[in-house]
């Protein structure tokens, strides 16, 4: 079992052995929001084609190598030594575009009782989003 950590959460997936992170198109879409299309790996209106001549490193047998696409997209990734846990992040450029759009990035986090709250639950109010820490 492999775990993918993404902006969408933590997802157990069945990765195929080999270099990279090979997932079925369905699992890749569930874990990252990026879906495999004839044009490439797509999210919303954005499609990233596999580089010409190197397609086999990116897509094979209905599976998609997310590690290769993440490198190709210049998006950050990190994995455990065993390769059983992968963290796939948003690119710095993507984060910057998001912040400069001034649309507050949504998030969902638990309170002490385990009840989940989303920023977007409070649309219609002014929000002071304030951080602190025990340390």
């Amino acid at each position: 079992m492999t775990t993918v950590l993404s902006d969408l959460g933590a997802f157990p997936v069945t990765a195929s052995p080999g270099e990279g992170l090979w997932l079925s198109a369905a699992e890749a879409a569930m874990a990252t929001g990026w879906s495999l299309q004839p044009e490439g790996l797509c999210r919303g209106a954005v499609c990233v084609p596999a580089p010409s001549g190197r397609e086999a490193e990116f897509v094979a047998g209905g599976k998609v190598n997310l590690a290769a696409f993440w490198r190709h997209m210049d998006a950050p990734a990190a994995h455990s030594k065993e390769g059983d846990i992968w963290a796939l992040g948003e690119s710095a450029g993507g984060r910057a575009d998001s912040l400069r759009s001034l649309e507050a990035p949504d998030f969902t986090l638990p309170d002490l009782a385990g009840v989940e709250h989303s920023l977007s639950d409070h649309r219609g109010k002014k929000v002071l989003l304030a951080t602190w820490a025990s340390w």
């Binding site: 775990t3 950590l5 933590a10 210049d74 998006a75 950050p76 990734a77 990190a78 994995h79 455990s80 030594k81 846990i85 992968w86 963290a87 796939l88 992040g89 948003e90 690119s91 710095a92 984060r95 910057a96 998001s98 912040l99 400069r100 001034l102 649309e103 507050a104 990035p105 998030f107 986090l109 638990p110 309170d111 002490l112 709250h117 920023l119 977007s120 409070h122 649309r123 219609g124 109010k125 002014k126 929000v127 002071l128 989003l129 304030a130 951080t131 602190w132 820490a133 025990s134 340390w135």
Partner: protein, 227 residues
């Protein structure tokens, strides 16, 4: 910390969302139980909000309007680095520094109140261009650091401490200006504070740089770190 302000303004279409950058919920629990806030007090064990808003320290805050738009991007929420003038023999800070800290906090809270009551007419509410100009975009190294931090926290929760701590160290190496990443991984004392010799060494290494960067806000006392 925000309870008084929230109680005062909660009927004015205003809410506080407090987010603890704490990988161990049990560490945050006593503080929250003591403060007993009536606004959401959330636990962010993976520092997701730091990643999304490019935050590097606490307390930092973001003002978000009724349409979900950022009015003031992530910034120091009125903290003043009086602690850098701490006298280790008396464990006190000079009176003028303590007074400045109170002044900075009061100024920040008053600005929040003014924005809640007057909206975009508030002198403290940035327009879109100002808000973009004050936005600090993350670097590629910062984005990569957050991946390592997240992976490290996941490994720690799986009792893979050695590998997890390596990932946290890599996160801090890639994003050295993040106190959130460094202090979360640092040893804590009996009070639960990451304030040992290594912390002070890092603070002293700041030199003329700020621990709490200045807030661009009318009325804020000028920040100084001189002794």
């Amino acid at each position: 910390m925000w309870q008084t302000l929230y109680e005062e303004l909660k009927d004015r279409n205003f809410i506080v969302i407090a987010v603890a950058m704490d990988s161990r919920a049990d560490a945050a629990r006593p503080w929250i139980e003591q403060a007993a806030p009536t606004y959401p007090a959330l636990i962010d064990r993976d520092h997701r909000v730091s990643e999304l808003y490019n935050m590097v320290n606490v307390p930092q805050a973001v003002w978000i309007d009724e349409e979900g738009r950022i009015v003031r991007p992530a910034e120091n929420a009125g903290a003043f680095e009086a602690f850098r003038s701490l006298n280790f023999e008396t464990m006190t800070v000079p009176e003028d520094k303590a007074a400045t800290a109170v002044n900075a906090k009061t100024t920040y809270v008053a600005a929040v109140r003014d924005w809640v009551l007057t909206g975009s007419a508030s002198a403290h509410a940035f327009d879109a261009d100002q808000a973009r100009a004050h936005t600090q975009a993350p670097s590629a190294e910062t984005a990569q650091a957050h991946c390592h931090f997240r992976l490290g926290q996941h490994l720690l929760r799986q009792d893979r401490a050695g590998e997890g701590n390596e990932q946290l160290a890599e996160a801090s190496r890639l994003h050295p200006t993040s106190w959130n990443i460094w202090r979360q991984a640092a040893e804590v004392n009996d009070m639960g504070l990451a304030a040992g010799p290594e912390f002070w060494a890092r603070v002293n290494a700041l030199g003329d740089d700020y621990y709490y960067p200045p807030v661009d806000m009318a009325g804020m006392p000028p920040p100084k770190t001189d002794e």
